[in-house]
């Protein structure tokens, strides 16, 4: 039985809602004044985190997942001592390093070399440690040629790579990481995940927060699912991931689209519902290969006119990874309407996605401003269908997306 590396007991963090404590002297004064007049409205308390307890064995990696606002970041901030808890207790054995963002403290005027020292010490390394790792860091980042160039002249990809390289060479016993894998181009991401795998297998205790379920599954031994500041599921990563999707899917399609609050935009035009037509008939059973039309009902204030409508539909897969994108931008048509519009139809002649669960992200722009933007707005299941008219389906383990293609034999002419 190995020793406990991290022990969290009854952790909670309370915030006051709608009460800007910082900054405004007048606002503080006004509140005090109102208080004197007996007209004081007490600030509402909001528990970003409550009753969170868990233990983590030394050398294990735990993945913390949950929707935005579930309390993941708050938990990480408490564990890394950035903010103090309102209640509860944490005990961590070993030197702790936390990585909530790559490149914190990078200074654009300084050169790459100087920033390695700066960032390294900010992350808790001593100058000697940085010096001894310097070559490794430079090597990993692949920016040798620009070491003495100010970072402000770097491309954003380069500075992110440099930043991650510094962070990846920290050698704490306990490491707290937030979403930093989502950086750089695909190649570099692969390198990062490889490095993270190395870190996990090197016997360090790791607390890892991410939206990237794939990364969580491949890197972590166990999982914790947070929802509304509480632990909802704890145990194997797979269980947590499954539960996460279950929750999200339930949430997304149970609440009518128009009532969803997790949207951005000025709301002048909103998507109010999504209807699905399969081979011309209203039907929710989407099959691979069928003609599928998504009809997005629009809601707008009466008399609302717009000159220019832009509508993007993003198709996301089970790990919330983007698979495809359909947009009015790619159509050779004019989307101006002087009269009100009731719906937008998106038709896909031969639906190419194989059996699985997918979600749509909707983005609507009118008169040049974002009017509605909802992530995971609509969830749907696809059944395997006869895409190739061969009276057979393709195993989803073989293909996630099906192409219309041809295969021919040929012989080179001599």
């Amino acid at each position: 039985m190995s020793e406990i590396g991290v022990k969290v007991q009854g952790l909670g963090k309370k915030y006051h809602v709608g009460l800007a404590k910082s900054g405004d002297f007048r606002e503080n004064f006004r509140r005090k004044w109102k208080h004197l007049l007996g007209d004081y409205v007490p600030a509402e308390d909001f528990w970003a985190l409550r009753d969170v307890s868990f233990e983590l064995e030394e050398g294990k990696a735990v993945g913390i997942i949950g929707k935005n606002g579930a309390g993941k970041s708050t938990l990480l901030k408490i564990l890394s001592k950035i903010t103090e808890p309102t209640e509860g207790r944490v005990e961590i054995i070993g030197r702790v390093s936390s990585l909530l963002e790559v490149g914190t403290g990078f200074h654009p005027e300084l050169t790459g070399r100087e920033n390695i020292y700066l960032n390294g010490t900010i992350l808790g390394m001593s100058r000697n440690e940085v010096r001894s790792k310097f070559d490794e860091i430079v090597d990993f980042s692949g920016i040798e040629d620009f070491l003495d160039t100010p970072v402000k002249r770097y491309s954003s990809g380069m500075s992110v790579r440099l930043a991650f390289s510094v962070a990846a060479h920290l050698e704490p016993e306990v490491m707290i990481i937030d979403e930093v894998l989502a950086v750089g181009d695909a190649d570099f991401q692969k390198k990062c995940i490889g490095k993270m795998g190395e870190v996990t297998s090197s016997g360090r205790t790791i607390i890892f927060v991410s939206h990237n379920m794939g990364a969580v599954q491949s890197l972590c031994d166990s999982g914790i699912l947070l929802a509304d500041g509480k632990i909802q599921e704890m145990g194997s990563v797979q269980d947590c991931v499954n539960k996460y999707f279950e929750n999200n899917f339930l949430h997304s399609n149970e609440v009518p689209l128009l009532e969803r609050k997790d949207r951005e935009g000025n709301g002048q035009v909103k998507v109010k519902n999504v209807e699905v037509y399969v081979n011309g008939k209203k039907n929710n059973a989407i099959k691979t290969g069928a003609e599928v039309t998504f009809r997005f009902g629009l809601h707008h204030e009466s008399g609302f006119r717009f000159k220019n409508l832009k509508f993007h539909v993003g198709f996301n897969g089970g790990f919330n990874e983007r698979l495809s994108w359909c947009s009015t931008d790619l159509m050779d048509e004019n989307y101006s309407f002087e009269q009100g519009v009731d719906f937008v139809d998106l038709t896909i002649k031969k639906f190419p996605m194989n059996q699985g669960r997918y979600s749509l992200t909707l983005y609507l722009k009118t008169n040049g401003a974002i009017s509605d933007w909802i992530k995971e707005a609509f969830l749907f299941d696809v059944e395997a269908g006869d895409f190739y008219n061969m009276a057979r389906v393709v195993d989803p383990r073989q293909a996630k997306v099906l192409f219309d293609y041809q295969m021919k034999l040929g012989k080179a002419e001599d």
Partner: protein, 273 residues
């Protein structure tokens, strides 16, 4: 065993500083100070020359107005030497106050993302100010040689007065940096204090010009004691009375209370900054 152990307990928040921890972060402290220096003169054509030019010009103006036009009585001391000894202390104070006062809100990205003893930020500004200070003092020595002003034995006390200069500057700076988090108004107060303080401290004139009945009030300004100390240790000018100790005590008090207040704010810093 022998492993580090971090305990975070909501019921027992640590209200004192862990000196060991600050020492562990000494490298960060040095690197931040060095960064400030590098950045300040990056891409400037004249570079460090600016550090020389600024006191030089102020000194010129002071000498013309107070030394020549108003003919301030400096008890036989050449006016430029007299003024520069005070300006060196004041310029350092103003620099540290300016820099550390807004230092926390200036590094909010870091404060929100990484843990380290926040005190390191304003403290590092005190080190960054050493360069300009060194320039002013070198310049003063040149002037002293030029005017033939001898160093006296009291010079040995100079490190002590310089320490008081640092503590006073930090005291006001740390108070300001902590207050700025809650009240951004403080950022507007700083230039005010710097400008008023220049005339409310005996930089351009000797303390003997202050009428007797205002002396007590005047010495509440902690920089008065520091400036008198500078003049005593560098130029051998004896302070006109003992009230300088009151002034120095206020400086020390400001420093210690600032650290206590800072610690209190530090606990919620990431939430409200």
């Amino acid at each position: 065993m022998g492993k580090e152990r971090t305990i975070i307990d909501a019921k027992k928040p640590s209200s004192t500083y862990n000196l060991k921890e600050i020492i562990r972060y000494k490298d960060l402290f040095l690197v931040l100070a060095w960064r400030d220096l590098r950045v300040r003169y990056a891409q400037t054509f004249l570079g460090l020359f600016w550090a020389v030019l600024q006191p030089l010009l102020t000194l010129l103006i002071f000498t013309l107005i107070f030394g020549q036009a108003l003919n301030v009585d400096t008890n036989g001391m050449p006016y430029p030497v007299f003024a520069l000894s005070g300006m060196a202390a004041w310029a350092y104070f103003a620099f540290v106050l300016n820099q550390s006062g807004t230092s926390i809100i200036g590094s909010q990205e870091m404060v929100k993302k990484i843990y380290f003893p926040r005190l390191v930020i304003p403290l590092s500004k005190a080190v960054a100010g050493f360069v300009d200070f060194f320039v002013s003092i070198s310049f003063l020595i040149i002037l002293m040689v030029f005017f033939g002003v001898p160093l006296t034995k009291s010079f040995l006390l100079f490190p002590l007065y310089f320490l008081m200069n640092i503590l006073t500057a930090l005291g006001v700076g740390i108070w300001t940096s902590a207050l700025t988090i809650r009240f951004r108004d403080m950022t507007h107060v700083i230039p005010f204090v710097v400008q008023l303080g220049l005339y409310a401290s005996p930089i351009a004139y000797p303390t003997s010009l202050i009428p007797e009945k205002y002396q007590l009030l005047y010495y509440l300004n902690p920089m008065v004691g520091v400036v008198e100390g500078f003049r005593y240790s560098l130029l051998g000018i004896l302070p006109s009375n003992d009230l300088g100790f009151l002034s120095l005590a206020i400086g020390a008090l400001l420093f210690f209370t600032s650290i206590m207040y800072f610690r209190r704010v530090e606990r919620v810093m990431a939430d409200i900054v």
